[in-house]
Symmetry: D2
Subunit: 437 residues, 4 copies
Amino acid sequence: MFDSVQKHAALIARDGLKVRRLIGRCHKLLSERGEAAGVSLARETLALYRELDRKEQARFFLALATEFSPDPQKVLAAAQAYAQDGSAEHLAQLNKLAEPPRQELLRRLNRAPGGMAAIVKMRERLLQLLKEYPELAAVDWDFHHLLSSWFNPGFLQIIRVDWRTPAYLLEQIIAHEAVHEIQGWNDLHRRLEADRRCFAFFHPALPDEPLIFVEVALVEAMSEKVAPLLAVDAPSGDPRRATTAVFYSISNCQPGLRGVSLGNFLIKQVVDLLSAEFPRLKRFCTLSPIPGFVGWLTPLLKEPDAIRRPKLAQAAQAAAQVLGADPARLAADPATAFERLEPLKEVLMQLCATYLIGAKDGEDPTPDPVARFHLNNGARLERLNWAADTSKKGLRQSLGMMVNYVYEPGAIERNHEQFVHGKIIAAKQVRALALTS
Amino acid sequence: MFDSVQKHAALIARDGLKVRRLIGRCHKLLSERGEAAGVSLARETLALYRELDRKEQARFFLALATEFSPDPQKVLAAAQAYAQDGSAEHLAQLNKLAEPPRQELLRRLNRAPGGMAAIVKMRERLLQLLKEYPELAAVDWDFHHLLSSWFNPGFLQIIRVDWRTPAYLLEQIIAHEAVHEIQGWNDLHRRLEADRRCFAFFHPALPDEPLIFVEVALVEAMSEKVAPLLAVDAPSGDPRRATTAVFYSISNCQPGLRGVSLGNFLIKQVVDLLSAEFPRLKRFCTLSPIPGFVGWLTPLLKEPDAIRRPKLAQAAQAAAQVLGADPARLAADPATAFERLEPLKEVLMQLCATYLIGAKDGEDPTPDPVARFHLNNGARLERLNWAADTSKKGLRQSLGMMVNYVYEPGAIERNHEQFVHGKIIAAKQVRALALTS
Amino acid sequence: MFDSVQKHAALIARDGLKVRRLIGRCHKLLSERGEAAGVSLARETLALYRELDRKEQARFFLALATEFSPDPQKVLAAAQAYAQDGSAEHLAQLNKLAEPPRQELLRRLNRAPGGMAAIVKMRERLLQLLKEYPELAAVDWDFHHLLSSWFNPGFLQIIRVDWRTPAYLLEQIIAHEAVHEIQGWNDLHRRLEADRRCFAFFHPALPDEPLIFVEVALVEAMSEKVAPLLAVDAPSGDPRRATTAVFYSISNCQPGLRGVSLGNFLIKQVVDLLSAEFPRLKRFCTLSPIPGFVGWLTPLLKEPDAIRRPKLAQAAQAAAQVLGADPARLAADPATAFERLEPLKEVLMQLCATYLIGAKDGEDPTPDPVARFHLNNGARLERLNWAADTSKKGLRQSLGMMVNYVYEPGAIERNHEQFVHGKIIAAKQVRALALTS
Amino acid sequence: MFDSVQKHAALIARDGLKVRRLIGRCHKLLSERGEAAGVSLARETLALYRELDRKEQARFFLALATEFSPDPQKVLAAAQAYAQDGSAEHLAQLNKLAEPPRQELLRRLNRAPGGMAAIVKMRERLLQLLKEYPELAAVDWDFHHLLSSWFNPGFLQIIRVDWRTPAYLLEQIIAHEAVHEIQGWNDLHRRLEADRRCFAFFHPALPDEPLIFVEVALVEAMSEKVAPLLAVDAPSGDPRRATTAVFYSISNCQPGLRGVSLGNFLIKQVVDLLSAEFPRLKRFCTLSPIPGFVGWLTPLLKEPDAIRRPKLAQAAQAAAQVLGADPARLAADPATAFERLEPLKEVLMQLCATYLIGAKDGEDPTPDPVARFHLNNGARLERLNWAADTSKKGLRQSLGMMVNYVYEPGAIERNHEQFVHGKIIAAKQVRALALTS
């Protein structure tokens, strides 16, 4: 790393004025003059950043890594002093020296009008650069640390999105829906009618941009297919008669907030809001995609013989005979896909349950990101649904299967804790499907 | 400190259930189950805190100091690892271990509805306990650190307070005015008329409580007396003709935010707002009290002979002959006080300038807190005003003298920097008064 | 009247330019050019009116009476045509000719910004002038007719006034309270606490001025004394436990809206709102003053022998022996008044019931304006309360007595109808007190 | 008419309960009990109306005509009394008797929640029935009279419609645009960008429904073609550089408000608002359709020989040779239409100018409704534009021609007055085109 510091310094120096001037301004912003300048200097600094192209931005972040890190020797000395007497004074000193100065830099940039939006955009870029420049991980740690603190649930406002919502916000809902694409304004309108709900989190410093939103259907039974929930022409039901709230889509709008816990809190606040409005609701569940199943299945189909667990190997062989080596190809023709899949229903549901619960030899349980999200939130894997999403995307991801996860308020903490300790919370009938031997 | 940990642990253990239960809840909140519990556990934890009496609160804070501090040995090991290779990974590790767990605890408490208000109140109590329990300084460091980040100027909303403001907010303005007490609603109303302005900072998570506010008079010359600014019956002037904005009062409303920089930003934002609304305004100044002058002067009057600087000693002697040893006694009879003070006008203004600029032997310059605030913000000490505040409080604090500080936008950064390096920025005529020899 | 037209025309002509110019502008506003001018001409016309002094205003209104009335001959011809065939066409023609052109003038003035407020102020002045100039009655008829239509309850907004209300509105509540004077902001604050309610009507075109407001106490029994309701230091009760809503004050804020029915609708809307918020409320009543009792009693006390009804005469004699000829004098010393009144309790309550229900020979029932208001609204006279208002005003008006009127939703229409046909709706125990023979 | 009263009474009596019950409720609402019932009776009455089918509604309106008209004999007596002495008292009496009781009925219906919306809908139906039942004219006169008073410009709120406007309002803009149809949300979005403006009038009692709206383009020259203004992909211009505001569409949303003057005031308020926001704007004009031209031209083409004015006859003959007897047929193929029209450009522009200014023998000038609207508002007919609207609708209405009308603030009143007296205000070059001989 010390070497890399040298290397980057050279890199940054070489490339002209713009990055250098920005870095200079950052140092000034951290100085005494910066304190007195109020917001004007922060505004100027952000303006300089906005002029950078992608390459220059990379250099800027590298400079944050090298020039705005704590001084290792000073931190060491402070840690020694603290270890010696454990005093409040030495602890305060240590805290001051161990915190990377770029954190204070970000706090000062945040003072500018629009500062928060700019910092979130910065992180979006930083995350893109991270693969290329793994040495930026420490910088990202600071961004993540501060953003987690600033986007504390205590500061977020939950807003119901409906047909009274301003168009420029609705437009963003259409743009950011990541699970079941919204096909224009009519589709959106249907999703905002009386028997549907959409809630979004907003932050007071980003009032014009939703952070994350969830779409809910208020229905009379736990949904096993998604098409009826999305049908634009379906008549609107009476939400007061609903017994079940189905969370059928949750989408993040801010890539710069990756890793900042929002969805978990959003779901729980929506459960509270809906419970208060509709006392008849007694079940809160999702109808969720299984985005990783086909990706997990494909290598198994290629070499079923290499699988050690006999039942799993047998199932893979059976599937491979029908599907060939590339199951995703089915998606090309959704109209006929289910005719071909139907004979495999049992075996594919077993494989999918195995993917979600058991997993292949030597691999962690539940590589599925959606499963990890809900199970980690304390939900229970309740039911696996055959032919639940017959769209191309549904076929490509999971051969049309979907999952219901159930949020049972009284069980959430316990479920989460068990999940953290490696246990998948699943209903008996799902567990029974998994090919554990 | 390690000893004191032992002592406190005993103390906390001894006193029954309440504090113990609260601490237990805090540990749970920091655990995995706490993460999944969403806001409900945070709400319960705060409810337990609210039941504590003052003594129990002290014990709770002591527990925060002992049980929620970083582990010195682990921090040391991390600091060593980081010092060895300076890697991003080791830095991230160090950051994680060096940060006291009570910071994360506060962040999780903040998730509860009303969490922010509760944390600010907690710190108010913590500050009161600090004298008695200096070992709480490290805990306070964490509160201050988080509150500074959360009350970042980028999150604050500046609101004009006027006669259209809801009564429950105006009531707080009356209650918190700390410089020139507001004598009821008529007095307040006059301070909100067309030729006056009042601006306050609010935080979105504390929407019902002003954080700090400033009162401004829009006039045609830099004020040298405060009475005309406060006269309830004075006719309202035309603000569009004003050339000078006089900041005649600035008051904090939240003792729990002590040390969080707010006033500096508030003044500068108000300067911007007023400049935009009234293009004819060309001077931004204060009319400020000198709260520490009499306190500084009294010992000098008692023993003028002990003063080494001859001119200063001579002035002190002259003043002592008229004022006796306790100059604050004058305040008992404001009606006649100025008759008695008048002959001393020159000598007292010299002494006061000395207090503000020069100071007595071996002491730092400018012990006056108001002077430190404005000079540190980048203002210039412009003029010393005789008989400027003829109230009892004015006599008691500064024998009726007041100061104008001037905020000149172009000079603020430079002034602040010089002040930080020990130089007082003052107009020539004030400097000339100081008895530096 | 034709004579008076001549006279006024001379009067208006004589007095110079201002009124003439205004009248000229009014004619223009009614012309075709006025139609095209949009709001600008209306604005100018109102500006001219605002420059008039009281005398000139009188002349302006007289000009409205003479120059902006319908043409009697044309109306007669139209009435004859309509009487002949009853056709829609002739009716429309009649309507057009019979409506005084000053109505259209007012409608066009209303187009100006602030037009509505100006018209309401105009009528306030007009009402003051009516005694001196009874020939303005027809002009007032038009103002009243239009204002009744524009202040239709369908356009009014009911607003809860509480401590979150802007100060400039609360200030008006203090100023306009006409029943139990509000003694400053502390008194007001108490009247807005959790166990009290205040509701006001607003009109969208007068958003900054309440039209009328009512104050309600939420208590556990029908109040018989007003002091506990007004006590500033009384602890606030829990409104959810209240069974009775006592309307203890209702005040108009706009003298220019005299005769426009507002109070009736306000009370009924408040009953609906409170019923919805507090399902435990089962009684809606008032605690009302009896402003006309002493004025009615005084002549009886002077000449009790002239009274024909023997029981009434006897009671008057008994009262006269103690009170002398001027019972209002008691008010000079409220402290001792009730000692003197106590022995007369029975006889005074009989006299008061007689005033409210029976009344003296040859006089209409219920000359009391407050009684007429509530009975006409459909309320029932429920109870007469001794020593209910011990203030000077209470003694001066009614020797300290007050009345409860009860609004029973199911009985309102019937009660109102009976009242309109001359019957007083009163509880048995009040009726029993009245000296009808 | 008296006969028709008999007839209708029979009709209404015959048809069952519903109308009879509603009429009964209306009588009650006008009675004393109705006054006391507050808004509840009005609500019930409206509910009964809502249950009627179209035929029953007609009977209801007929009952309003017969049972809620003034009594001709009483009105006659009152008119005679007023004609005799011209007294205020007799005038008031006359006013009371001449006003049809259905006006007070409507005022009382308006008290109900949603009353105003219901009355506007009632009139929409009434207007549809008017052709079939001309005897309802008097009833419509009352609706129009009251609605004109209630929708007085002083009560209307002008709202800027933009991309921040709630979707349910934007949806109504799309639905009601009557001039240049809005092709979905993208089209709408373009019309709300920075170089466009849309303003609507709202009434406080109908907060969710726009009454009328206007669309404006801010451009650098008076537009002669509409396509560039409507192009969805056109880049947005800088409105601060615009010199000309082109009102390219104005649409009513409430058929029930026909004849209530709204557009006139809306245009003038928008001129004021835009002038204040953009000081560089120096011209306010329209780009307007000529909806009646082809309808006027068609009979002329059929029998050009019957035209007395020789130049006009000659032009009609020339046009007939190319266009045949049905010029609207061109619209079937917009792609080739202009090729065929081009040779006729001069003669068609002459004919169109004649239609707008001169008109055919014995007919009023300007039968065009759009021309009448703008000229009556005080605008000037400024320019006739060839091939300005190449859509099917444009061809069908006016063979693709459009007009610019100019609103010159200083000339509006004078222009309007001249128009009222029969004079068309037109620019010289348009006037020169008209075939007046």
